[in-house]
Symmetry: C2
Subunit: 257 residues, 2 copies
């Protein structure tokens, strides 16, 4: 049996806890969260004990999972008593180095997905990227990853940072465009759900085509007639500015040799 201590009770920690629970041969021994309500609630859902005090984290687990906000990572790690387990964080943008002062076995296991506490995701489909400082720990993380996902691979910190940056474009910024589109629909007194088939198809298309091949719309040929009409429709300077810059950026891709 693999024993795990989970630090964190946010969106990622919650989804990870359920994925660990569903894997065979893994038991979660202890949960930590700074917020007692979160710690108690998650501990109750997966039937294990909890603490709100990092210095009360017990030794003896195989893995210590730091599924915390980037900004809390170092502070919490510095308060956990030293032990022989493999400590890893789950952050896309933090280096493996952040754990090095506090453990001789630092690692990273980064699941590339957007998580919500109450939204179930197929964890097994999520690509996972792992990193360690020696071969033995790397193998341990790859084995743990294999229990959680069908798509696990090694990735060093410098490439993980780029991956996280790409994810910000593909997820966070994309979602913001959905918000801006929703604002415009409000003006037309249309419900947001009229856009869902289009949004779904836009995402589905790039399973078969590259996004470069899939690009459509007035910006590809920089159709000034349509673009000017759209700019005239946009009162909000923020949307106008983004419209123009995104259109120019698209056009640039289709005029370069």
């Amino acid at each position: 049996m693999i024993s795990v201590t989970l630090l964190g009770a946010g969106n990622l920690a919650t989804r990870l806890a359920f994925a660990l629970l569903e894997s065979s041969g893994i038991s979660i021994r202890q949960i930590y969260s700074r917020t007692e309500e979160h710690a108690r609630s998650l501990a109750a859902r997966i039937a294990c004990c909890y603490t709100t005090d990092p210095s009360a984290i017990e030794p003896g687990s195989d893995f210590y999972i730091f599924a915390l906000k980037d900004s809390a990572l170092e502070e919490v790690a510095s308060q956990v008593p030293a032990n022989k387990g493999l400590w890893f964080h789950t952050s896309g943008s933090m280096s493996i180095d952040v754990l090095k002062p506090y453990t001789s076995r630092p690692g990273v296991l980064y699941p590339l997905q957007t998580f919500s506490k109450d939204r179930d995701v197929e964890f097994f489909e999520i690509p996972i990227f792992v990193e360690a400082t020696n071969k033995e720990d790397l193998l341990a993380l790859l084995r743990l990853g294999d229990k959680l996902s069908r798509n696990v691979r090694f990735l060093p910190s410098d490439k993980r940072r780029l991956l996280h940056l790409a994810a910000v474009f593909a997820c966070n910024f994309t979602n913001h465009l959905y918000t801006l589109a929703g604002d415009i629909l409000d003006e037309a007194e249309l419900p947001f759900d009229v856009l869902l088939p289009l949004i779904d198809e836009t995402a589905a298309k790039i399973h078969e085509l590259t996004p470069y091949e899939a690009q459509t719309g007035p910006a590809v040929r920089f159709d000034e007639n349509v673009i000017q009409k759209h700019l005239d429709l946009l009162d909000d300077p923020r949307k106008k500015d983004l419209y123009l810059r995104l259109s120019q950026s698209i056009h640039q891709d289709y005029t370069q040799p």
Copy 2:
């Protein structure tokens, strides 16, 4: 039997032709395309006759569908001999007025989707927006729409323009963010498909949450630490600029009262 003449042989015209063909009680009588190869190819696929000459469009159809590029719409319409059919275009951004000089029965039927010639779409799920100049023609378009989609509604030209603009944000600009994300993955020597589960989940989430609720990432709280690290990683001034502006735009949404 409803008879239809289809002008256009591009992505939308092709998908529409197949949707019409699959509906009961509709027959396509004639296809027009300026490009003989396109006209012949589509006509062969749906077994009807074709022409490359707008003045050879035959009278007697119930509907004349102008599924053409915005820029070609008026020129082609001006060359089609007058007849008693209902003429409608399928453009998101063109007013119904563009057809008025050439027919007494102008209309619009706008299917909100991104189309590719060779990619099958579930046409019946696509929202369709119709417009006409009198009640009788509107009812005729609503009835035709009902044969093609389970989601058909009336929308006047001024609101359709806004809808089309929203679609540019939700589809064209989103796809461009996928392209930029792919560029960044290239730098990390990672294949594009590692992003697909994240992209799919980002689109799936907003079936349940509003995009405002679904927003995550460093820009929400304007986490300057992560944002600065990301800006440092971006050599390309275009990506750097879009990163900053999109982050600022997100942050603006989450700080306003």
